[in-house]
């Protein structure tokens, strides 16, 4: 009896599941097409164009060669910009880690009142729109005479980068059992030694991943820089914008290709590091 009642119901469920599958497959295909068209194709095009031997931008290129890369590395406008970007992004990465790591420890391993507020405050920066932040920062930096200075730029980028290190580091920290420290301490280690030698050591892949992300954030930052940097702080993104104002320089394709390559390597590094993190 019950078997005969079950059968039509099961068939119906099967039909509707097949329809659901078709819809899902179509949606998946559409999403894939959009990603390929708008995200993968343009960079690929840029990469192809970077090997053009023409002194102007045209597609398809009339000749091939390393001309764009030669121009890039022999023009001081570009090499200076690359150097400036490094001089900003490296301290930003170090400073972000130096701020975020103690904050994570304070939030997770101290008995401070309001310790949970630390992370909220640190991550809150993520919800401020960058243009609004830029305008506010303009006022603050000019108040302290930091507008257009190297220090001001490093500070501004650090504020953007700290939340990233916090989020990645904090996720790893919640998975480090406090018993590791307690075990080290009963074995005779002082609290500081247990923190540095055990907890921070176990946390370090995540911290490194956060630092790399901070570096990329600063290196790639193209919005804030227009509001607050002076003539001495022409980073690579700013140099590209300035050059684009005068017309499209085909060197940009070489810069973009190198940037994409470097970012891919760093992001792969971040992913690998996070995998080894707890």
């Amino acid at each position: 009896m019950s078997g005969r009642q079950d059968t039509p119901f099961r068939v119906e469920a099967g039909v509707s599941r097949a329809r659901g599958d078709r819809i899902a497959r179509f949606a998946g295909g559409a999403a894939l097409a959009l990603v390929v068209t708008f995200m993968l194709l343009p960079p690929l095009l840029i990469a192809v164009l970077s090997f053009s031997g023409d002194p102007y931008l045209s597609f398809p290129p009339e000749s091939w060669g390393l001309r764009q890369y030669e121009t890039l590395f022999s023009t001081s406008q570009w090499t200076d910009a690359i150097e400036t970007s490094f001089r900003v992004a490296v301290p930003v990465a170090l400073l972000s880690v130096a701020i975020a790591v103690p904050a994570i420890f304070a939030a997770h391993r101290s008995r401070l009142k309001g310790r949970h507020g630390i992370l909220v405050a640190g991550i809150a920066g993520l919800i401020v729109p960058i243009s609004a932040y830029a305008i506010a920062l303009y006022g603050v930096l000019s108040q302290y005479g930091l507008l257009g200075t190297y220090e001001g730029l490093v500070l501004a980028h650090t504020v953007l980068a700290v939340p990233l290190v916090l989020v990645i580091g904090e996720a790893a920290m919640t998975r480090i059992p406090i018993e590791l420290e307690l075990a080290a301490m009963t074995a005779g280690a002082h609290r500081i030694r247990a923190w540095l030698g055990i907890t921070l050591r176990v946390l370090s892949p995540a911290v490194l991943a956060g630092g790399l992300l901070a570096f990329i954030t600063s290196f790639d930052e193209a919005a804030l820089i227009n509001f607050i940097s002076g003539s001495g702080q022409t980073t690579l993104p700013k140099a590209i914008l300035e050059s684009a104002r005068l017309g499209i320089d085909p060197v940009i394709t070489a810069i973009a290709t190198l940037l994409m390559l470097a970012t891919s390597v760093l992001v792969a590094g971040v992913i690998l590091l996070r995998r080894t993190a707890p």
């Binding site: 059992p177 018993e179 590791l180 307690l182 075990a183 080290a184 301490m185 009963t186 074995a187 005779g188 280690a189 002082h190 609290r191 030694r193 055990i198 050591r201 176990v202 707890p278």
Partner: protein, 353 residues
């Protein structure tokens, strides 16, 4: 207790605001003894262990280890070893490096350290796994490394917090054996926390039973099992029935008369009874053959455990009574029927309720 040897917990309390986690605990552990803190969760056993380890500071009282007051010292200064339920091995170190950690912190010379590490890995049967990381070891192997790490520097007392709680049953029995062997060979003083009474029975020289933040009984397993000091101990530790007794009269020489299901019977009485009392009857004391004291009730449940059958009997005025009967002889017992069970009154004991 004027002796300086061993571990002495003297009137130790721990309060968190209004909550009392541990109430005036008093406990002496002799040198080389394995003492188990046994109790349901929230009974204060872990709090007491954490106070001994130095992870918590007592609100009142003293902890003395070999005559030294240690309750205000940092964990590093106490000379204790600790094994955690979740192993807590350092994930970035090999088994050998984990075991060597305490020795390194104590600045043992390299040669001596290596010798000791090899010796310990040998002791726990993991010599071939010396260079493996915790990730590459099974749960049982990890706990062995943790044990070796905790006893490497010869701590004055080894603390174990439900160390077998994360292991499956077969492995648990194997590890019990291992702990017994190491305890016997090394003569380490051990304080062991568990909520599993089988584990406590298998391992302990003495057992401290805890309930509601208090230490309610302390003694040898046999004594606690057959001469429980309270209804809680009898029920929790021996799994015995504790039948409420409304009144009793003393007969002298450790015996009293109680009324049970309308019949009077004479039973042994513990010397600490003062006021309300319960009669302790172990499930195996019951029999279907007439003789001795009798209770009558309705069968609510009948479960076959191979050689034995567990019967749940609902008795007017006494509540639920568990009995373990010979399975073959109790084949006729039916759920819902009326049943009389008999027990030898001399095997029961009247204790404080």
């Amino acid at each position: 207790m004027t002796t300086d040897a061993g571990l002495h917990i003297d009137n130790v309390s721990k309060h968190y605001g209004q909550t009392i986690a541990l109430d005036r605990a008093q406990l002496g552990v002799r040198e080389g003894e394995l003492v188990t803190l046994l109790g349901p969760s929230g009974s204060g056993k872990t709090t007491l262990l954490r106070i001994i380890a130095g992870f918590e500071t007592p609100t009142a009282g003293e902890v003395k280890l070999r005559g030294r007051e240690i309750s205000r010292l940092s964990p590093a200064e106490r000379g204790v070893g600790m094994v955690f339920q979740q192993y807590a091995l350092f994930p970035h170190m090999t088994a050998a490096e984990n075991v060597a950690y305490g020795l390194k912190v104590r600045r043992w010379p390299a040669a001596k350290r290596e010798k000791r590490v090899a010796e310990l890995l040998e002791l726990v049967g993991l010599a071939e796994r010396a260079n493996h990381r915790p990730k590459e070891l099974s749960g049982g192997q990890q706990q062995r490394v943790a044990l070796a790490r905790a006893i490497a520097y010869e701590p004055e007392v080894l603390l174990m917090d439900e160390p077998l709680g994360a292991l499956d049953r077969t492995l648990r029995l194997e590890m019990e054996e291992e702990i017994r062997r190491i305890h016997r060979n090394q003569g380490t003083t051990i304080v062991y926390v568990t909520h599993d009474k089988q584990e406590a029975l298998a391992l302990s020289d003495r057992i401290a039973i805890m309930n509601n933040a208090r230490l309610v009984a302390y003694g040898h397993p046999e004594e606690l099992y057959y001469r429980p000091s309270s209804a809680f101990v009898a029920k929790f530790f021996a799994g015995a029935n504790t039948l409420p007794v409304s009144s009793f009269s003393l007969n002298g020489s450790g015996r009293a008369t109680v009324s049970l299901c309308g019949e009077r019977c004479e039973v042994p009485i513990a010397d600490n009874v003062d006021g309300a009392a319960s009669l302790v009857v172990r499930p195996r004391s019951f029999s279907l053959e007439p003789g001795g004291a009798r209770i009558t009730g309705r069968v609510r449940e009948s479960l076959l455990f191979g050689e034995e059958r567990e019967i749940h009997l609902e008795v007017d005025g006494l509540g639920k009574v568990n009995a373990l009967l010979d399975a073959r002889r109790s084949q006729g017992v039916e759920v819902g029927s009326e049943l009389s069970l008999y027990f030898n009154a001399d095997e029961s004991l009247l204790v404080p309720a």
